[in-house]
Chain length 174, copies 2
Amino acid sequence: MSKVILSIAVTLDGFIARENGSVDFLDPFNEDEENNKWLGKFLENLSAIVMGNTTFQEYHKYPGFFDYYKGKDIYVFSRNPNLKNDKVMFVNETPVEFLKNLKTEKDVWLLGGGKINTSFLESNLIDEYIIGVIPVIIGRGIPLFAKSNYETQLKFAKSEEFKSGIVNLYYTKE
Amino acid sequence: MSKVILSIAVTLDGFIARENGSVDFLDPFNEDEENNKWLGKFLENLSAIVMGNTTFQEYHKYPGFFDYYKGKDIYVFSRNPNLKNDKVMFVNETPVEFLKNLKTEKDVWLLGGGKINTSFLESNLIDEYIIGVIPVIIGRGIPLFAKSNYETQLKFAKSEEFKSGIVNLYYTKE
């Protein structure tokens, strides 16, 4: 059965992006060969990539974005019915409805941002967490999850250090 | 020379305490022998413990609090000049002034919370960071640092896994 994996980079102070959505603090780490190799392997096990529209609007400006995720189905969650982009599928459903109808062979990557992460979290739909802790403090930004009353304990699986100073922390649902 | 070490437990979603200051989510981990042994060793290298008053008011209710930190000088930062407790020293100075006058043989533990962490951070006074990532998500709470315009890159040193699922991440000032 395919799993939903939240895999995302987080600053040491808990932010996945700046308040304006920028992830420029990741730039020094994009050259990290070890990390890119890891990402290539991670992508091999995926059928689909799920993200919120704010994240999509920020990310798809990067040159090579669509090439990079070639062969993966990209789903962008938004309540706006007028969005158009022939390279992705816009979704206006709950995460539960979406996953019920999704036919995938391989895993699903939940890529962020904070709002869509929280929707999936609150519906207990995240099977695995891979949190890449970036050795920077940025002071303010968009947190990993939006404020919520949901609480959960996770099962720690393993950690992985990269020479760049990124540490991947792996958890599964309890 | 003695170092200032920020050592603190943080939930996976980046909180050091609940909004009301409670750290009850740490209770299941307080029995962790490995972690307690680690803490004992950590304490051996310390002369002084520094915390904010909100943190002090929350922590010193725990039975055995003062026994635990016996032999260490406890400094509690607060702007309120009327606080009294003969087991601690209240401080109404900036972190820079405080450290200038502090005579210690061993290291200084910056214990939190978010506001005092941020004061020390913004003055570039934190030499080492030991962030204990707790495998829980609590949805809302007091973040590791208060909102700030301060940004910094850290140097990752090492990580350390406990059987309980806590992972300690070590960093130093760049």
